[in-house]
Symmetry: C2
Subunit: 251 residues, 2 copies
Amino acid sequence: MTYCVGILVEDGLVMCADTRTNAGVDNISSFRKLHMLDEGDKRLVVAASAGNLSITQSMLTILREGLEPKQEDGPRRFVKDAPTMFVVAQMFGEALRQANDLFADTLEEAGVSASVTFLLGGRIGDGPLTLYLVYDIGNFIECKPENPFLQIGESKYGKPILDRALKFNTPLDEVVKVALISFDSTIRSNLAVGRPIDLVVIPRDSKAPIKKRRIEADDRYFNDLSARWGMLLTEARAAIPDPPFMIDVVS
Amino acid sequence: MTYCVGILVEDGLVMCADTRTNAGVDNISSFRKLHMLDEGDKRLVVAASAGNLSITQSMLTILREGLEPKQEDGPRRFVKDAPTMFVVAQMFGEALRQANDLFADTLEEAGVSASVTFLLGGRIGDGPLTLYLVYDIGNFIECKPENPFLQIGESKYGKPILDRALKFNTPLDEVVKVALISFDSTIRSNLAVGRPIDLVVIPRDSKAPIKKRRIEADDRYFNDLSARWGMLLTEARAAIPDPPFMIDVVS
């Protein structure tokens, strides 16, 4: 499995993905799921994937080799030439359907899920900083300020903290902290999600530096955050009064 | 959907279930999912169910009317006559398979999941306090001290807090508090789980009183716990240092 989260707030975009893949519990390995697809002057396209690895890789190769021309004598279509993030999202959907056409039936016959979903974030030219969730059949939704995050993969363990903590005006360093707490909860509860975690932070201010970071298994900040969060939760629980209806049960 | 949790610790057994059922988001109602199946002298059998309501109700009726005799001239078999919890768990499996035989094919044709799982807890005579999870095909697992809880239904949102907080030696009032925090997280993240929550607490000491409680939408303790937990999480997040690699991103 996989856990990826994208958070789009007033100050910028944060995308995080784990790297664990497994085919059964005895076949676990590490693959990058956060991909910088375009990183040019005034162009930044980042994708995070969850689901079948063969479909994901085929789909990304299809994009890299360029989609078929729209007109017969037109050029092949590349992400690097797309004029807007909306066009990139459509290209993702198209490539995903093509990759599904290659393998999905065979996979389904073998009882293997072919489903792949993507988080797609970035900015092209003077266009807005955007975050999409692309579904396995190629349609997509866009992240909006009312609910400033999207998740794919093993999303439920880490959702309560996001639901509580994230607002559109949450500062970017707080967003990163919350994202990592969400990963910590997920990793503790599900073996199929694990470090390293890949992280990219894209400030809305295009002059501010973009941060890319891989949080390894020995990352000191993450280890400290995980230990502190555990202690703080214990303290928080202790601070809540005991249920009054339990008074005569417990001596 | 549904969320139920059973927690079996040194001091006793706690079982909790929500009451929300839905067939689509526009057909939401409230059904009791925590059932006292036997409550006699030295007998206590409690079940919590998740899944298809028609299969659940049929299965409980099959149990109430008694399973077919084992021998042709033998008596019908009732939960109230079962000598051990292990026998009750087997009867649950048998009744579940019978209820599945009635409807499962038809439901599957209609694209409706027939899956039902049960938490089954209690004590018979001088036997041990026991907690089982009965799967939809009738097999079951037993809760053991290494991992002192079992969940059914929408279990993932509320699992991280249980993973962190519960040990076999956690006191019973703390267990109830943790169970309610787990429900609070689930309810906030998933509309398909909602109050009232039914709660039963069975101390291991058979002379201590058994607690049954319905936590309604206006329950003061739960509302206070939910508000405090939210504040405490906010304080806990604030107490964790900001990511050091974000220093030059955030002004």
